[in-house]
Each structure stands twice: as structure tokens, then as C-alpha cells.
């Protein structure tokens, strides 16, 4: 009986790990492919059958890609824009989520419904009008233009409001009895209790801000203000593209995101699994 159970256990383990390994191969393969492509020569890249690894790693590709555009400047810009929008989003989201979930003020439900209603408008429709606003404000080619329109998000506010609502009201009342101000309660109780949700909002925002392409392209003109994703199109023309350079540049572009992920992995996974969001 025990041997039978042992065998079943071993088979189950093999199946489990087999599936996990298969899953991770599927997930990791595109990254490996990107890295190996970035080190290939153009002819290796298009060779049939394709080789998984280059014969001689072409580190020159990274040099060439780096030299093709002011990527250092793009990097700094992307970092500034991502940091500022993420901080902005966190401040506005936490404050409004707290207000919507805990405070009572006239018209609360109306305002919340209006917020939700804005989720129904596709972003593409707002691009032209937002662009016109930026032009009228004379903000073209500035960090403001890339940051200000993105420092609040109805979706994140809705998400965090739901999390804040789950915190029992008795905690709030108990804090009130102890003469805790609303702001202090928010900072000391609500934020720490919903750390994971706030982290996942930050991560989602970092990713979307890091990858933003169209908006930065629209509102900037000079090379000094462009961001990393704009640099990638440098390798594409009407008649062909230098795939190895695109891959090298892509590696440089995603590296910071991967590093952030490695450091914050625990929070991201907790936040995403708890909130039921698909990453």
C-alpha cells in the first residue's frame, strides 16, 4: 500500500514539475530568444533552421544600437516620467480611494459614478483632445506634457476603493475614539494594510508608463525629450528592419523592468493574486 502511494506521489510530482517546467519554458523562451537574437549576425538571425544561440556573440550589436540614438538621454527621460507619474498616481489614488471608501460627503456616489463612467471612454478618443489641450497650454516638448495627463487613473481609484472598503469600519471608529485624524488613519492604518494592492498599482503603472509610445511621441519634438520606446523605431524603415539591433535595444529597454521585478517579486505576486488581476 505504501509503495503504491509512493509511486502515485512520485508520478504526481513528475506531472506537477513537468507542467511547471513546460510553463516556465513557454514564458522564458521569448526572453531567451530576444537575448540570443540580439547577439546574432543578420544572416544568423534569418537562418533556417534557426539556431538557438549565436556562434560568436555579437556584442557589437549593443554598441551599434546604443550609438544609433541618444539612449542614455532617453533612459533618463523615461525614468523621470515613470517615477513622476507613478508617484502622482499613488498620491491621487490613495487620497481619492480613501475619500470614496471611508469619508462621507455630499455627492459622493455621483462623483464616484462619474469616475466609473470615464472608464467607458476609450483612451484613443481622448488623445486628440488632450493633445490640443497640451498645445494650448504651450506644454509641447516638456516633461509636464508627458506626466500631468497621467497622474490620475479612474481604474486604479476604483480598484483601491474596493480594497479600502474591505477594511472593517470598526477599525476606523476605534481610531476615531482614540482621536486619530482621518489623514493619520489613512497613512498609519489603511496604507500599510493594503500595501500589496498599492504595490500592484505602482507596478502596473510603471509598466504602462515605461512602455508608453504614442503619447510621448505626440507631445515631444526634440531628441532631448524623447523616451526609450521612441528609440526603438529607429531601426525600422519602409523597406526592412535591422532586427538584431531592435532586439539589442529591446534588451536594454526591458532590463530595468526585469530588475525591478526581481526585487519586488514578492509584493507583485501577492498583490496580483489577491486582487484577482491578471498580469
Amino acid at each position: 500500500m505504501t509503495t503504491k502511494r509512493k509511486i502515485v506521489n512520485v508520478i504526481a510530482a513528475i506531472l506537477k514539475y513537468g507542467l511547471l517546467i513546460l510553463g516556465s519554458v513557454f514564458t522564458v523562451l521569448p526572453f531567451i530568444w530576444m537575448i540570443s537574437s540580439s547577439l546574432k549576425t543578420p544572416s544568423e538571425l534569418i537562418a533556417v533552421p534557426p539556431a538557438l544561440f549565436p556562434e560568436v556573440p555579437q556584442w557589437q550589436n549593443y554598441k551599434d544600437a546604443w550609438a544609433a540614438a541618444p539612449f542614455a538621454r532617453y533612459f533618463v527621460n523615461t525614468l523621470i516620467v515613470t517615477t513622476c507619474t507613478t508617484c502622482g498616481v499613488l498620491v491621487t489614488t490613495v487620497l481619492s480611494a480613501f475619500a470614496f471608501s471611508r469619508l462621507n460627503f455630499p455627492g459622493k456616489k455621483t462623483v464616484f459614478s462619474l469616475f466609473l463612467a470615464t472608464l467607458m471612454i476609450p483612451g484613443e478618443m481622448l488623445i486628440i483632445t488632450n493633445y490640443e489641450t497640451i498645445i494650448n497650454l504651450k506644454w509641447i516638448d516638456s516633461y509636464k506634457a508627458m506626466i500631468v495627463p497621467w497622474i490620475s487613473s479612474a481604474f486604479y481609484i476604483y480598484l483601491l476603493t474596493r480594497f479600502f472598503m474591505q477594511v472593517p469600519e470598526s477599525l476606523y471608529l476605534a481610531a476615531k475614539v482614540d482621536k486619530c485624524s482621518d489623514f493619520k488613519y489613512m497613512i498609519k492604518i489603511m496604507v500599510p494594510m493594503n500595501k500589496q494592492a498599492i504595490f500592484s498599482i505602482a507596478i502596473l503603472n510603471i509598466i504602462s508608463s515605461w512602455n508608453a509610445f504614442l503619447w510621448p511621441l505626440l507631445v515631444t519634438n526634440s531628441q532631448e525629450m524623447r523616451v526609450l520606446s521612441n528609440g526603438l523605431v529607429r531601426f525600422q524603415t519602409e523597406a526592412g528592419s535591422s532586427t538584431e539591433l531592435i532586439m539589442a535595444a529591446s534588451c536594454m529597454l526591458v532590463m530595468p523592468i526585469i530588475i525591478i521585478y526581481l526585487f519586488l517579486r514578492k509584493y507583485i505576486i501577492e498583490g496580483v493574486t489577491r486582487s484577482g488581476l491578471k498580469g
Partner: protein, 445 residues
């Protein structure tokens, strides 16, 4: 309950509002267009010759022109080497012009990005002074383009020197709305080594293509020909067969000629003589691996072909009852509204179109000269001697045609390729090809 009802009405209102915004924009576009046309384009155009007149009367020298120092922005989509050459030519102009005009180049990414940004900027009334553009991008905001007729008539050395097909394309809307600049054409790239090995001559006609394709198929079991641009090949083949493609009213080839063209194309694919590019995107990769004997693609793509272990040949497109070749590449449109800026921008356009600057541009980028006189310079002749692609392009310059522009032209361009792809997958017969493509095109109106 109350909230639910209220929420529902808010959502309904938002949706209604968003729909109205959508309608509002198009309505404004169509109704405002004629109204703005007059002030936006006519006035500056008439002002220009006024400023010009004293110059021609007093002295032919350009000093008499009264242009104040100004900055001109030029949005382009030239990347890599193309951008460096454009920058070099522009720097030369900035340093040498006597009026203190400074042209600032603004790279707006790839063509698609430039198109998006131009469209958004047209809606926001924030167009640059100069921009590269294809004609079919311009239909929604052609009223914002400056009419260049008077500039060309009074202040251009020799407009007749510009290749006729380019001139026609740049005056497609009934006035000169652009000057040609980075022009390329579709040519036949072929594996010369394979052709020699199999004893194939470069195909001149459709019949030659079919014969050569059979030889290649029998000997190597690979496709003979591929087309980077499936909309382009349908259009070019119709012209080669003496038929028309589309105009503002719909598809023009729902007849015997159209069926003949579809028979040729469907046979190529159904027999395996032609193939789709698939995931590679461009046939330059496929031919580099010697997995196809030849392909039709833009002359600007020659640098992406890696001929390692074989020789590359380039030839004009094969014809049927006549020869016809698509031209590609953008023109430069002027949007500057201020008359001084218009004069300044024109100075720049004259400079980059001069025989000397144009030859430099062509030799260093592989784009085709837009002027006959550039083709005739010793420098370009020497370039053609070394560069098989340039020579082939020059040979077919007389056969160029351009795609007509109208409201539906952009949609047609994006619909036809997927339609053809599906027909190839279905191994459809010629009649189905004809009916399906005609219907796909007519559905866009």
C-alpha cells in the same frame, strides 16, 4: 436602486456624448474644409509672388528677396543613415543661406508614427512648417497644405526637370501641394547565381515569369517570386495588363482584363511559383537564405539583402501588354501659414531639390533622384555603374505610375493585402480572386 438608475443614465450619457464627439469631428471636417481653404492656402500663395515680383523686375539676383531670419521645422521619418544624410544636407543649407534661415529637423519615428502625429496635429491646428507625407495621408487635411504653384512658377529653376510621374503625383489634388523627395520604386531582385546555374534569363514578360518559375520549381522545389506589397502587385499587374485599378467611384477592373490579371496571379500562387512572405515580413530575408529565386520589393530595401555566397541582380519589373512600376516614398508638403516662413521654407526646398544636393542625397541614401539632371551628373552615372539597383530603377523611370488618392484609398491599401493573403491560403480560382478583390475594394466606399 436610485444609484443604479443614476449610474445607468450617467453611462448612457457618456456613451451618447462619446458618439457625438465622434460624429462632430467628421462633420466639422467636411463642412469646414471648403471654408478654411480660401484663407489658408490662397492668401499666402498670392502674397508670395507679390514678394517675388520686385525680385524678378529689379534684378534676377536673389538678394532682392526680403526674407527675415526665421526657424523652420521639418518633420520627417528618415532613420539611420538616411537621417544622417538629411541632417548633413540641412546643415549645409543652414550654414550657407544668406537670410539666416534655420531649418530644424524633427524625427517623428517611422512612417506610421509620422502619419499619426500629422493627423493629430492637423486636428489640433499645430502642423509643422514642412513635413514628409504620402498623398493618401493628406485627404483629411489637404486644405491645410500650401499651394506651391506660384512658387514653382516664379521661383524654381526648372520644374520640367522633375521626373514627370513625380510632378503628376505632386499635383494630384488639382494644384501643386508638395515636392517629391525620397522616392523609390519597386524592382525585381533576383539571385543571379541561381539564374545562371539554371540558365534563366531575367524575365521581361509574364510569360517569361511563368516559364522561369517552372524551371526553378522543377530544379529546386522553391518558389520563384514573391511580393513585399500585395496591394502594390495587384495594382501594378493591372497596369501592366493595360487595365485600371481604382478611382474615387470604385474598382475599375471587374472585366476581362481584370480576370486576365487575376488568372496570372492566382496561377502563380496556386502552382507554388509565388509564395507569401509570412513571418519574415520582407522577402529580403527569404532571398538572403536562397529560399526564393526573386522578389519584387522597394529599391530602398536593397541594403537589407545579404548576398553571402551568391550574387544579387536587380531588374525592372516584368510587364505584359506594357510595363508599369509602382513608385514609393514620400513627398514634402508645406504647411507654414506665415508668409515669411513660406518664403523661407521654399528656399530650403529649392536647396534640397537642387541638382547638386539631390545627387548627393541619392548617391548616399539609395533613393532615386527626382530630377533628370541629377541622373545625368557624372557622379550619379558613376554610382549607377557600381550599383545594379540604381541602374534598374533608372531604366524603368519612364514606366512609373502612382496610386490615386481619394477618401477610401487608405482603407483600400490596408484591405487588399489581407484579402489577397486569404485567397492564396484558399487556393482560390481566378474568378474568385477577381470577385473577392473587387468586393473588398468596393466595400471601402
Amino acid at each position: 436602486m436610485k444609484l443604479k438608475k443614476f449610474g445607468a443614465s450617467v453611462l448612457a450619457m457618456t456613451m451618447a456624448a462619446s458618439m457625438m464627439v465622434g460624429c462632430g469631428e467628421t462633420a466639422a471636417d467636411t463642412t469646414e474644409a471648403p471654408a478654411t481653404e480660401t484663407p489658408a492656402t490662397e492668401t499666402p500663395a498670392t502674397e508670395a509672388p507679390a514678394a517675388e515680383t520686385p525680385a524678378t523686375e529689379e534684378a534676377p539676383a536673389a538678394e532682392a528677396k526680403n526674407i527675415e531670419a526665421t526657424e523652420i521645422t521639418f518633420w520627417h521619418a528618415m532613420n539611420g543613415n538616411l537621417e544622417s544624410v538629411l541632417t548633413e544636407i540641412t546643415d549645409e543649407f543652414n550654414a550657407s543661406n544668406e537670410y539666416g534661415i534655420k531649418v530644424t529637423l524633427v524625427n517623428q519615428g517611422a512612417y506610421g508614427d509620422l502619419q499619426t502625429k500629422l493627423q493629430a496635429s492637423a486636428a489640433a491646428d499645430a502642423l509643422p512648417d514642412l513635413a514628409q507625407a504620402y498623398n493618401n495621408w493628406l485627404t483629411p487635411y489637404i486644405d491645410k497644405a500650401v499651394k506651391l504653384d506660384d512658387f514653382v512658377a516664379t521661383d524654381f529653376d526648372n520644374w520640367e526637370d522633375i521626373i514627370p510621374a513625380y510632378r503628376d503625383e505632386c499635383s494630384e489634388f488639382g494644384f501643386i501641394h508638395a515636392v517629391p523627395y525620397n522616392k523609390s520604386t519597386y524592382v525585381l531582385f533576383y539571385n543571379k547565381t541561381m539564374f545562371e546555374e539554371l540558365g534563366i534569363e531575367v524575365p521581361q514578360t509574364w510569360a517569361d515569369v511563368e516559364a522561369a518559375a517552372k524551371t526553378v520549381m522543377d530544379a529546386k522545389n522553391i518558389a520563384f517570386i514573391g511580393y513585399d506589397d500585395l496591394a502594390g502587385v495587384v495594382e501594378a499587374s493591372l497596369h501592366q495588363d493595360g487595365a485600371d485599378y481604382v478611382d474615387a467611384t470604385g474598382a475599375l477592373f471587374n472585366d476581362e482584363k481584370g480576370l486576365e490579371t487575376c488568372t496570372y496571379l492566382s496561377n502563380l500562387y496556386n502552382n507554388g511559383y509565388a509564395r507569401l512572405v509570412g513571418e519574415d515580413g520582407y522577402f529580403s530575408n527569404v532571398i538572403s537564405n536562397q529560399n526564393i529565386a526573386s522578389y519584387v520589393g522597394s529599391s530602398a530595401g536593397v541594403s537589407y539583402i545579404k548576398a553571402e555566397g551568391w550574387d544579387l541582380g536587380v531588374a525592372p519589373l516584368p510587364g505584359n501588354v506594357k510595363k508599369a512600376a509602382n513608385m514609393a516614398g514620400t513627398n514634402i508638403v508645406m504647411f507654414a501659414q506665415d508668409s515669411n516662413k513660406q518664403l523661407a521654407a521654399w528656399e530650403y526646398l529649392k536647396y534640397i531639390l537642387s541638382t547638386e544636393a539631390m545627387t548627393k542625397w541619392a548617391v548616399n541614401t539609395g533613393y532615386l533622384p527626382v530630377r533628370q539632371s541629377s541622373y545625368e551628373t557624372a557622379e550619379y552615372k558613376a554610382y549607377m555603374d557600381e550599383n545594379v539597383c540604381a541602374a534598374a530603377c533608372y531604366e524603368q523611370a519612364k514606366d512609373f505610375f502612382f496610386s490615386p488618392t481619394f477618401d477610401a484609398s487608405n482603407d483600400i491599401r490596408s484591405t487588399v493585402p489581407s484579402t489577397v493573403e486569404q485567397l492564396v491560403y484558399d487556393k482560390a480560382d481566378a474568378q474568385t480572386w477577381l470577385d473577392t478583390i473587387v468586393k473588398a475594394i468596393n466595400d471601402q466606399y
